[in-house]
């Protein structure tokens, strides 16, 4: 399975991508939401893991745009923030909402679950 990671923290997202690939999940990563929009083409990624708080465009907005490009894509939102609005909106529109820091196993389980559906 192939996933896209979008997070403005490069140190975080690069390490995460490497760990996922060690666990058999092929992960591309970008730190800029606009770059993510350029990368995604229909059918290229099965799922995307998005940070909620990013400069320029937040994860929720990015999810909407990506969903337009590829309606079959699944999304997991990741955030260090826990504001009510983000949580409510996030839970309405995405399958999972994970608060940082999390265990890699949690994410892997959830990604596997998504692809199994």
């Amino acid at each position: 399975m192939k996933v896209l990671l979008v997070d403005d923290e490069k140190k975080f997202v690069s390490a995460l991508a490497q760990r996922l690939s060690l666990r058999g999940i092929e992960a591309d990563w970008v730190t800029d939401p606009t770059e993510a929009l350029e990368r995604v083409t229909p059918g290229k990624y099965e799922a995307a893991v998005l940070d909620v708080k990013m400069p320029g465009m937040d994860g929720i907005e990015l999810r909407r745009r990506l969903a337009k490009i590829d309606p079959t894509m699944k999304f997991i939102l990741v955030t260090g923030h826990g504001s009510d609005r983000d949580y409510d909106v996030g839970m309405k529109e995405v399958s999972y909402y994970i608060i940082k820091p999390f265990k890699i196993e949690d994410l892997v389980d959830k990604l596997r679950g998504l692809s199994g559906q």
Binding site: E9, K11, F12, A15, L16, Q18, R19, L22, V78, T79, G80, H81, G82, S83, D84, Y87, D88, M91, K92, I99, K100, P101, F102, K103, I104
Partner: protein, 582 residues
Amino acid sequence: MRRLLFRFSPQFLDAGSGGESRTVLFNYRRIWLVSVLLLLAVSILPMGLLVIISSQLAREAIGSENRLRAVRLTSNTRRTISFFLEERLDALRFIARQESFRGLNSELQLAYLLRDLQMGFGGFVDLGLINADGLQVRYAGPFDLTGKNYGGQEWFRVCVEKGFFISDIFLGFRQIPHMIIALKVPKKDGSFYLLRATLDTRKIIRILSSLELSEGSDAFLCNREGLIQTPSKYYGNVLQRFELGLPGYSPRSRVIEARDRKGKPILIGYAYIKDSPYVLILVKRGEEIMKGWFSLRTKINWIFFLSIITVCVVVLGISTFMVNRVYENDQARLRAMERLEASSRLISIGRLAAGVAHEINNPLAIISENAGLMKDLFTLKKEYREDPQLMGLVDDVLESVERCGEITKQLLGFARHVEARVTPIRLEEVVAEVISFLKKEASYRKIEIQTDIPSDFPVVFLDRGKLQQILLNLVNNAFQAMDDGGRLQIKARERSDGRVEIEVRDTGCGISEEDQKKIFEPFFTTKGTKGGTGLGLSITYGLVQKLKGDIKVRSALGKGTTFTVVLPLKIERKEDEGPACG
């Protein structure tokens, strides 16, 4: 008695004097005192002035009324006596006109005239005819006075000079009080003769005694030397000196105030009777004079006294009531302010904590992922995988990150307002569930758990999970506070204001007063090294707030702690936020 006083003494009296730490905004005692004094002053002062002025007026009115009456009586009596004397003289004048000297100059004729006078006027005792030399030439009467010479006597001289004469009352040789009147009658030849009559005093005495005088009053005649002429009840016998002294001459009737020999106030009315040696004296006693005044004054005093009592009671009542109301309002305001302060402090602390948690979570994620990657990489290489120290270090890092993450998540939970999921809840079920979590520990530690939830306790519409967590936190807390063998009580009741109250009481170590203020703040803990993040109660607080409730703590060191949670019967879902997440 003291207890009774205490019961009625208003609350504000003790304000600020006891060990209370509550702030006192004003000096309520002072306000009360000022209010009482001011109200008493403005109500009693005018009343007192009015009473004094009006009683003075009444007293003056009664006094002058009495004087007037005395003057009138004196004046009338004077006229009567004056008229009586004048009448007797006129009788003699009539005789002198009617009869010539020749006609009078006969014992028989004189006796006839005397009889006529006695019949017509009364009071005449005898009648004499005296020539210009003072010799009584003819006499009619009970004594033999014919030929008596009055020529050298004072009265004869006065009568010749003035034309008539009225004598003092004297005893004479007959030892009977009497008086004489005499009239000078001119003859045609230029000489004159005198008509002289003796009057007994009974008629005058009768005039005086017929005055309707009140008890203690007296009326009598004096002569101008101050000798009493007619009987007096209180001021001496006939022909004794009037003990109070004769008032100075006045042509008209007058009244003076004086004191009798016992020092009591009296009113003396007197009149010098014209053309006679007499002075009419009328004495009224002070008590008698002011009798009306005294009864009026007693009445006024009573009314004044009762009014003052009433005013005092009303003023005290009103002042106490008002000041107490002010005090109660102030206290309520202070309490509200304190509550507001505490909750706003908690809210801002919560925001701060959540902000800190946000900021920490991102770097934590980096540490976590990088350490994780390190571990992954170690796992791939045999030489590292089998180095227990390296693997242990990485695991320590990951474990610590996980702990940090737990704390920040709890902090976020304290601040986050996730919408409540409202379901109908039976409280006894939730309580039973919570207790079931701790049953094992309770039996192990011999902690007795009592629940007291009335059977008619209403079904509440709240978030079940939050309510459960609130109760769990409180019960957990109680367990931690208690030594083995303690007792935990969970009570619930419906309040009159349409809310429900849940009480969790333990017999634990208690919380000091100072700590009670901080107990809901995040990271506040008394457990020290024994563990506990200090977040439990602050999270509970946040949960109660989300359920639109209120939580309070009451505690005594060494005796135990009671947490009281007040919750609404139901909370409304906010429609504009859409359905709850699922």
